[in-house]
């Protein structure tokens, strides 16, 4: 295997080797500390020690010389023998000094110095009595001769000892160890320095390498996200394009693992082939790329990018199948305005928004413009305000509930129930469609909070409807997708049923889309709630990916037929028959029907003729606030009482 230079560098600065070098460095420090400790134990000879030792030796030699001289003088009867004794004692004390004092301990440690001095001391001690005799005058010439003979032997050895230690010799040069230690120390120092420099240079290179690697994507070998953060990579005059593979999640799910890496590599290759030489390709995240098109014109970027994408599209051959790979782009165009300062984060965000838009609408590309940015900003503001509101903080967003009465088909004036509808307004001027509020909440994990808010609000506004007005119709409340979960029974108990709303008068509306996504989960929950006495209605029937099977499996009480089945029934006989068919199937399955969106008298007549149980629409009632609904119901009730009294013949009060 031939190693490419990048592979060699990769190996050289790999985790293992870097850690290895670090361990070496640590060992180096440990070794030097150990050596330092060892040196302390070994008691390196200092120059001061040598000075004291040589001083002691010099004194030793001088005092020996002095004694020698007095021996000569006493022998020639030129000196008082007492002086010989004094100098004998002086030399004697010098021996004890050499053998005991800490000052000259270095001398004793060297070679066989201790033994030599002790030997000399023993021999010298043997002269003690004869010298005392000479000093006391009780000796003869033979004693003196004996002392002189023995002393000469000792003196020669003393000189020998001094010479060997001071000037040099085979055994006991006291400076020798000092020099040896110094030499050793020098070698260690040089070694340490060399190794330290080696390590420093290694890490300097490693740092450079890492800095380079930091901006390179390991899979595609193109630049990565970090490169974008460097200065001057993205300029105002550049077009910033975010590119993603269409249905990337699906493709990755089907061909995950190592094959996915191959796909990403292929994509990078295709894209880099379709861009111009000075343009930049950056791999920002899996299946997502950024192209920085240099110095491009702010206008007419669309067709150029469309062309670029079409060039890059390819067929990916995997095994025996060919998967078409299509790219989708979101574009943040270049600007001419020199004053506009936008960092790459902003441009990246704009491009991603455009990309998401394009992905949602299944178009090839989308150029970020003011309208789109405004829509996103509004959405962001709504989300911010929603968070505030759901945390019970006052903000610029106002949410409230309205009620659209549902009437019985048989007596089209009689209010049988009401559907609770959400209304929202931002800054007291912009009305926000309820489905947008629900979508934003669902996308940002606020679905349950919004659902609970609606339940609480509905309970608050309608409680006295049930308690004091004895309203015996139903209240139909829409459940957003997050609400269909295991906790829903408890949520209903806590926020609705505990507030004196009778269970049997609540109808929960679910859409096919959210209830049918996960039958395994939703069916038991719906069943449990139905057991509590609540009813379920399937909303927007016929608009989603629905089948009649859902009707059966979801075990619902009411079916709400969407307005699209009602439109034009007064002119279109086929449509009318179709509606009749749906109502008939539902009633045969024992499900009550509520037909929505009835706007005129003809539609009303036809629907009622077809046998719908309930009808709802502008033709009967517009959605209204709770107060108005109360008022309506009061009027209806008064009317009932009047009719009843008329029938029973009681006078009207």
């Amino acid at each position: 295997m031939i190693w490419s230079s990048s592979s060699v560098l990769h190996r050289l600065f790999s985790h293992k080797i870097t850690v290895g070098v670090f361990v070496c460095l640590a060992l180096l420090f440990i070794a030097s500390s150990f050596m330092n400790l060892n040196a302390r134990e070994r008691n390196y000879v200092s120059l001061q020690d040598i000075r004291l030792a040589s001083w002691g030796l010099t004194q030793f030699r001088d005092e020996a010389n002095m004694f020698d001289r007095y021996l000569l003088l006493v022998d020639s009867e030129l000196a008082n023998p007492l002086l010989l004794k004094i100098h004998y004692d002086i030399l004697w004390s010098r021996f004890t000094y050499l053998l005991n004092s800490t000052e000259v301990s270095v001398l004793r440690r060297l070679g066989s110095n201790t033994e030599s001095i002790e030997d000399l001391y023993t021999r010298f001690n043997q002269l003690s009595q004869p010298v005392a005799d000479i000093a006391g005058g009780t000796s003869d010439t033979a004693t003196l001769a004996l002392v002189r003979e023995r002393w000469n032997g000792i003196n020669v050895d003393i000189r020998q000892l001094v010479v060997e230690n001071l000037i040099g010799g085979e055994s006991g040069d006291i400076t020798e160890q000092h020099d040896r230690d110094l030499g050793q120390l020098r070698i260690i120092k040089v070694g340490l320095l060399v190794m330290l420099w080696g390590v420093l240079i290694y890490y300097a290179f490693a740092l450079t390498y890492l800095r380079k690697q930091f901006v390179i994507d390991p899979i595609t070998r193109t630049y990565n996200r970090n490169y974008l953060q460097r200065k001057y990579v993205v300029k105002k005059s550049d077009t910033y394009i975010a590119v993603e593979i269409q249905n990337s999640q699906q493709i990755l799910t089907e061909h995950g693992g190592a094959e996915a890496d191959t796909l990403v590599q292929l994509c990078a290759k295709q894209l880099s082939n379709s861009i111009q030489k000075h343009d930049l390709l950056i791999h920002t995240s899996y299946c997502e790329f950024v192209i920085v098109k240099k110095n491009s014109s702010p206008n007419n970027s669309g067709p150029i990018i469309d062309q670029l994408i079409n060039r890059a599209n390819f067929e990916w051959t995997i095994g025996n199948t060919k998967v078409p790979i299509r790219f989708v782009a979101g574009i943040d165009p270049a600007v001419n305005d020199n004053h506009a300062t936008r960092c790459w984060h902003t441009r990246h965000r704009n491009a991603l928004r455009a990309l998401n838009y394009a992905l949602e609408k299944q178009i090839n590309y989308r150029i970020s413009d003011d309208e789109m940015r405004l829509a996103f900003d509004t959405k962001a503001e709504i989300l911010r305000e929603l968070v505030k509101l759901l945390r019970h903080n006052k903000g610029d967003l106002k949410l409230w509930l309205v009620y659209q009465p549902i009437v019985t088909a048989m007596f089209s004036t009689r209010i049988a129930g009401a559907e609770v509808l959400l209304r929202g307004r931002l800054n007291d001027e912009i009305d926000i469609p309820p489905n947008q509020i629900v979508n934003i909440c669902e996308q940002n994990g606020l679905g349950k909070d919004l659902g609970i808010w609606i339940l609480r609000q509905a309970a608050l506004e309608s409680a006295h409807l049930f308690s004091t007005m004895n309203f015996n119709g139903f209240l139909s409340i829409n459940l957003n997708p997050s609400m269909i979960c295991e906790q829903l029974p408890n949520i209903l108990k806590a926020h609705l049923l505990s507030r004196h709303i009778p269970a049997r008068q609540i109808c929960l509306e679910v859409t096919e889309d959210n209830a049918a996504i996960d039958f395994e989960r939703s069916v038991p929950v719906i069943q449990k709630i139905r057991n509590m006495g609540l009813q379920f209605a399937l909303d927007d029937f016929g608009t989603g990916y629905s089948s009649l099977e859902y009707l059966h499996r979801l075990k619902i009480d009411k079916l709400k037929i969407d307005r699209c089945f009602v439109a034009d029934i007064e002119t279109n006989a086929k449509k009318s028959q179709f509606l009749a068919g749906i109502i008939s199937i539902a009633s045969k399955m024992g499900v009550q029907t509520i037909v929505e969106g009835i706007e005129n008298h003809e539609q009303s007549d036809i629907t009622i003729r077809h046998g719908a149980d309930y009808v709802q629409g502008f033709y009967y009632y517009m959605p209204m606030e709770a107060k108005l609904l109360h008022h309506l119901l009061m009027v209806e009730k008064a009317h009932d009482i009047a009719v009843e009294k008329m029938i029973t013949g009681q006078p009207i009060q």
């Binding site: 004194q59 002095m66 003088l73 008082n80 002086l83 004094i86 004390s93």
Partner: protein
Amino acid sequence: MSNMETPTFIKKYKGNLTVFFVVLGVFFLCCSFVARAQAPEVSLQISKSSTGLVQSWSLGKVDALSQQRITTHSPFFPGTKTFSGPLLADLLAAAFSAEPKESTPIKLIALNNYSIQTTFGKLKHADAIVATRKNDLPMSIRDRGPFWIILPLNKRPDLENENFYRLMIWQLSDIIIGESQ
């Protein structure tokens, strides 16, 4: 011993100049020791360089002064030992009826002719004593006596260096006050 003997020496070793000078040197050397060597007990010679007057202080005379005790270690012997003797300042005050000035040069000479030169002030501030007893016993020459300058190293860590160790001269034989000549 008299000067009359000198010519005999010259005659005896005539023709050998080297030996002659050696002997002559040895002779003068020994002459300088003769006066002191007469006394069987070594006493402390205290003198003033300006007058040349030499006082001889025997052990008994030194003992009569007020005594100090110092228990200390030193680089010269293992362990700690207790020394006693008068303060050097007291001794000099007694010898010259007044304490010398601190700036006065002082020369201390040992029996082996080792000598050091310092000022009186330095020794005074180091609380130097002229020790005559070690562990309450008089010190022989073999014990580095009879006189030993001892500094209280145990109590004064500031004295623990070579600068002061060198002042602790043992087998002290002469103290000379004033400019050396």
